[in-house]
Amino acid sequence: MTALEGTSRQRSITYAAPVHKVSRRARVILAIRAFLTVIVALIMLIPVFWMATTAFKSRADAVAVPPKVFFKPTLEGFVNLLAERSVLAQARRQEMQARRDELSWIQRIALDAGTEIIGVSQYVGRLRNSVIIAGGSTVLAVLLGLLSAYAFSRFNVPGSGDLLFFILSQRMLPAVVVTIPIFLMYRRLGLHDTHIGMILLYTVFNLSLSVWLLKGFIDEIPRQYEEAALVDGYTRLQAFRKVVLPNALTGIAATTVFCLIFAWNEYAFALMLTSDRARTPPPSIPAKLGRGGIEWAAIAAGSLGFLIPVVIVTFALRRYLLRGVTFGAIRQ
């Protein structure tokens, strides 16, 4: 008995040998793939890396020839972005230099660049606008989108296919097509360059995204959950609140973030429909062109403020990215 087992094991070893060879080849191919992928990813990330490092360069390092990969990091760019400065005259500069130890670290950074901080820059206000507009429009778009998505998902809405496609098609319009009439409308209504105007506009443009995304998520919640609740003595509204909402939470979170990103990144509408009071950073970063040439470090600093949240979000939402960028039309 044992002898028999022994021979059969030996046999299996000889037969297994070529299989082993194949798997080694497959492993080599996989390693090549992995290596290539790493290279591609690195190349793709060079601009992002460059943006991130430039933010910490001094004004001179940012435009150094040849470009500097290694440099002495400074927060000058951020100070330039967020603070209003004046150039110091020689005498004043020496005087400031003398009592350097009494200055705050921010003032010291400004001093090193030969300037003095005299206030908060316009950019801070622009950031605040962005928070208000992006936040407000996202809350509205997700709220309204959730209600419509539920209705489209659960009721027989007459002509729902056409309606849904119609809602989606709004997102396909070139922004400039609707901007002209909206500009005229807003001017008449006094909504030009206001937070409310921009919130409304972004809400509408995010609605198509949020309705489609959320409908996809709600479609995935079995109807039986609500039906069970209905039979168990709850009204439809209660069933919506107690059963649908808790189960749609991830979907709601993903949708919220996609709407936030759109509103946060938006450029064309902001450029055409705001001038100052409601202007957001994207159209104003390009305007941050200092007198003595472009302040690349400051621009990079501003861009980094946009970059970091986006990277975090990309990783947090990796499972839902495909849905997000295809309006929920395609699910993984």
């Binding site: 039986q224 039906e227 609740a229 209905l230 039979v231 168990d232 003595g233 709850y234 808790p246 189960n247």
Partner: protein, 362 residues
Amino acid sequence: MATIELRQVEKKFGDLHAVKPMDLTVHDGEFVVLLGPSGCGKTTTLRMISGLESVTGGQILIDGRDVTWAHPSERNIAFVFQFFALYPHMTAWQNIAFPLQSQGESRAAVKQRVAEVASLLRINHLLHLRPGALSGGDKQRVALARALVRHPAAFLMDEPIGALDADARETMRAEIKRLHLLEHATTVYVTHDQVEAMAMGDRIVVMSEALVQQIGTPAEVYHKPANLFVARFIGSPGMNLVTGHYANGVVHLSENSRYLLSPEWNQALQRELGGEGKVILGFRSEAGVIVEDGPLAAEVFTSDLHGAYNMLNLSLNDDLVHIRVPRGIRYPMGATVRFNIDAEMVRFFNPRTEAAITRRVR
């Protein structure tokens, strides 16, 4: 507990009937099974009783009260879904307590009731788990507990064990039966599995193509199918059906197969077919008896061993006929065997109307 009454209830989607007008009375404490192939309207019927689907005609009464247009929550019924429909964001305990909370019961009362049904279903140890952590059988136990907890007037179950694996299905079938007896609960149970229907139902409603084909006890639908559909659908295998020609008290099935009718049957066929005509003869596989000088002849097609018995598949004309024979006997392929049919178990159908022919005028 309660009676459920359906009066000419129908459901139409546009011009299409999902359920053609049907009448049905489910008595207090009765276990009625709606049985039929998928798409026959059985689930729609159940959903109309629950109020999850609106009717397009007729009336639904629960305990004599017209609930045709009442909201599901006002009907005092419990629904058990095929895929359990347990709320995934709640623990088993919260799931079971959920229906009670809608009625604003006190915390103590809720606790007590949940504990009661949990021990009835022997799931006390699972109450802290979410549905995701439960096995299929346990999910369905929790779903049953959720249905029981409110003492509803009636239970509506939509293929409650259809999603379970074979083992769990056997166990749950017995448990549902036990609960039904313990709680004396009026139950309407939907399934497409005729074995399940036969095992569980006090009465079976056989449906096909939106229409009720027959309502009867398991024995009735098995032995006295109302029409060809029921004859084929009930039983495994279904009833043997052989087309023949009736004339002068004899049904001619093939050259050397002629079935001599009893006087009662002769009378009935005479009345139904008027002298002579095509008729379908039906009998259950256990009603066939192999005898050397049997009046019917057929050729052996194959023979399958079923453990306790052999199933002999014979070809008669173009029809395949199944007959149960004892284990030991072997029949070579292609051989001709002669058999007879237990006179009490033979049935006849009118091929034109597909309805069963009955011996006595009702």
